[in-house]
Symmetry: D2
Subunit: 329 residues, 4 copies
């Protein structure tokens, strides 16, 4: 046969798991969308349909739910580490596992100056409902955990974080050819939906010998496992702050500043890649109506949009985040 099997992977995608933890009357919630992709010795199933080496995708889904109970969900990254180790160490034909997770954020519903159903004023936070949540709806947090039995790669990120500066953005001095009609802008709106992925330096020590905390951070390379939640919160903060504080001459410059801010401030991160649509806000021409539009009224366009993508690396780091965060389509 003149054909060869190339890279392949399989698993259950988009298992939606919600984990409630009860601390007396106070509840906590974790809301994830988990996708499993397994690779290994899978030639037979492709060639002949023999499923001997195939752990069913249904089983990978069951494992997500069982682990949510057995291990809890401390963070998306830690949960993914548990899962990836399990698949690679539990099934001989599986040599590599990649877990991708989306996390949706919730906050408590505030009823602090509310009335109890019986008409009494809540006497304090202790009396408030502690099991009621509203989805924040802002960005979606992302995590990707890959394990090949030897080393770990963790890429975290976020998507759909929509930001806008209503001034301090210019665009001029660009190259021109015969198809250039754009007028230079000295005060424009700069807006984008931030999509970012950052890769951690930590790669574990590859051990899977059951260290007591199950964290896999034997740290043979001396790199401690990050505090995933703290790292996420701080990285998001640096991205937002730098976007706000940069006087921008191009979206590329803003992107690079954001990346630099993250790399300089977060020693645990080796590289970060951004995919930034330039959400055009066109100044509307109001002159036909006898009106002057002094950077006040804009048309927010859908398509087409500029798309600016780049990786920022720590000096000496190897680029490993794929070029296309968005789909090939």
């Amino acid at each position: 046969m003149p054909t060869i099997l190339g890279q392949n992977q399989y698993g259950k995608a988009e298992s939606r798991v919600v984990r409630i933890t009860r601390d007396g009357r106070t509840h906590h919630i974790k809301d994830l969308n988990v996708s499993v992709a397994l690779s290994g010795d899978m030639a037979d199933v492709h060639h002949s349909g023999s499923n001997t080496h195939v752990l069913p995708t249904d089983t990978t889904k069951n494992t997500v739910y069982a682990f949510a109970k057995e291990h809890g969900i401390e963070s998306a990254e830690q949960f993914g580490i548990h899962l990836a180790r399990h698949f690679v160490t539990g099934q001989e034909p599986i040599h590599r596992a990649r877990i991708r997770i989306e996390e949706y954020a919730w906050e408590r519903i505030d009823t602090s100056d509310g009335m109890a159903p019986d008409g009494e004023v809540w006497s304090g936070t202790a009396e408030q409902p502690r099991h009621s949540f509203v989805r924040t709806g802002q960005e979606t947090r992302l995590a990707q955990i890959t394990f090949d039995g030897d080393s770990w790669e963790v890429v975290s990120g976020l998507t759909d974080l929509t930001v806008l500066n209503s001034t301090n953005s210019e665009f001029w001095g660009y190259a021109k050819d015969k198809y250039t009609t754009l007028r230079e802008a000295y005060d424009r709106i700069l807006a984008t939906d931030v999509s970012a992925r950052w890769r951690y330096r930590w790669s574990g020590n590859g051990s899977s010998d059951g260290s007591s905390d199950g964290s896999g951070d034997g740290s043979g390379d001396g790199v401690p496992m990050p505090d995933w939640d703290e790292s996420y919160a701080q990285t998001k903060k640096h991205i937002l702050r730098t976007f706000a504080e940069t006087y921008s001459l191009s979206l590329q410059q803003s992107l690079y500043q954001m990346g630099t801010s993250v790399i300089e401030n977060r020693g645990e991160i080796e590289e970060i890649r951004f995919s930034l649509p330039n959400k055009h806000h066109f100044l509307v021409d109001l002159e036909p109506f006898g009106l002057k539009n002094d950077n006040e009224v804009y048309f927010a366009a859908d398509r087409p949009y500029g798309l600016i993508e780049a990786t920022v690396l720590r000096d000496g780091a190897e680029p490993r985040i794929p070029v296309d965060l968005t789909r090939l389509r």
Copy 2:
């Protein structure tokens, strides 16, 4: 010809307007999606294609942008009132205008403990960027303003406000037939995406004679025009709080409590309608894995979902909000 023209309307849908207001270094943003629907003496265009009575949809779009400059955008409702009055009073063949608006919320990017680009610590809020925003991403605010030259109808609302109670919800004692297999639940998750529309008592006095403030609130009926933003904020608060504080025996009961809370607390509102998908969170059976699932691990399902819809009215009010908030499809 045996055919008759029935109800008809036309206009430009989904004009995306962003309005920036500059107060020194402090900027303010309004971000709307505006749809115009006009009705009136439109038989000719349908029968023969004569456009004599047809103000182009392109013109209705232009008007949205021009009015954003001329009148500003105080609130979605007030902006819609300006537009509806203009179309009905400005073109003789147009007898009725309905303006629908979606509003997206933004909040300032907080850089309060940030570093200035030159390395100095921000000395205070006065030094922070005041032109940088991040979309909150939670619910979308809605407004619909209808004017027929005589009276006004304002229906405001919200959609995609996702809430969840992790306890204090039961469902049992229901009717059963031969197709009933559901097991009774004494402690379940209750979650929904709140979609609500509420109608205001205010209907103006129908005057369009150019009252000085342009508000149309001649108030022949003695009903003052509401403070739209305050009313929105309080109504949302009552919905959230009542959802959280209701011990629920059915989603219908929670719905009615939410509606009652709004009607009782907001005298300016005559009726409110909810469309509440019951976002099922199924307890995962972990027994095959030797695990007990004590209301901890849930599968968040997509489809099918229960759909609970009802109107709650002030005693004596006439129901006018259409039954189907969601599309016929």
Copy 3:
């Protein structure tokens, strides 16, 4: 309590049922998305949470699947009639049932000049696989069946049927005001996504006494039950053909022609309503590049878009299709 319960309905939405019928080696497929909405004596569940009158939405979903087996799916409309009758006649507190169905079309995969896996040429259609399908992906068929125990209302329709005429469309002679800047067009592209709903004259005789075929077409009013599939196919054909053959001076005119064609040719239909977005295709200005654009190159815009909506009625018919086919949002 100063609040009153208004219109309310509940049920399971979007149950996805696929029904395979095997006729020897030849299989047939029906692919539906079914939503149930029930109304009746439901005050208690709203006021107190008593579910005594509430048949669970889970049961309505089970019924959809059970009926797919018991009755088969002859057509979306016939299937909805079975369901609606069952809910209204089966549960005393339920006074009204509305069934909404989306249907997705499939066609057989053609392997007629294909090779059998063993290398032999297929000897004829009898040897071809008769169990393999590809989704056509064009419009979605819609049906809504309502029964109140007494009479029936069937509204069928379609959505997302995208059509385009590259000439024979003009737009000029329209009303102008100070905000009008549009230039008249004497040869433009006319494109829209047709969304239509049509109501049938048939209303059954309201009997639910178990006529042998379960069709409910006792026809006390002398109106025979339509052939639903034939009616759908012909109505779609009239819409497409009339769109193509109309020399259009406005989208309203094309709409009215399409409606008239359906009413005149299909005696079983009383009224039809269209919601037609004017999908703007703007001629691109190529003059800056020294090129003449002779109606050749267009920019297909997303938003905003014109939205043209109207009902066409048979003379004497009562309009009953709601004004807004699209959602209030």
Copy 4:
């Protein structure tokens, strides 16, 4: 500065171009969504915001529209070749261009047995409207053209081609662990949305010296440029036919058969990658209702779904299609 700029690219995404070609009364339509991504000597704009090397994304959009006029759109691939060559050879700092195109298919509206508006029967196809189209709505055709000034890479594909076999699919004999609960299936529905990308052997000769036909197929390597449309049509046919004709023991096996069929029959293609969601159709348990479900009634599930991905290569070919066709998210 401890940060380094990694891979970067920019350009205008999703320019929607519709090209009409008039051949007397017969019109032809091409409907594309074109995304441009340029790379090269772009350090300055990232580091300092200097746009000297930056051809504006607005210009790349203008070029798409101008080229639709100047060169026409013979096929998506040929159009992309024109664009990619232009950007790389026209601007010194630009070293690489990647053009991605989605193409939407239209077919003529058939009015063959229709009536002319004046009541006459159409006398033949010559009299039928030849400027009226309906979107087919099935799969979206994809093309990606990359040029680095030296060699070409063309990857074509399709997405959202939904197929289903109602029998001849089994799944059993799989690996089991403590989390496995799935029951073996000996007759199941197999359904998927085919997403495929295939890479052509042709890489041009890298010349950009203005060969008369502008095709860049100097063919220094002796590989002729494919007939893009014929290749697309045949590849789709092989995918559909093989899906239909394969008796499947796993979706992986079907995938490999589809890939093999393409590689064996289309000599111009070097590799093909599939991303196949296993769209689960679960047999509904009707026993509680006293009914037997003999592979007749299925619940079509949304999430989670199995996801099967693999590359099939011609022996000796180098794999170059990225692993993740779907987005990282």
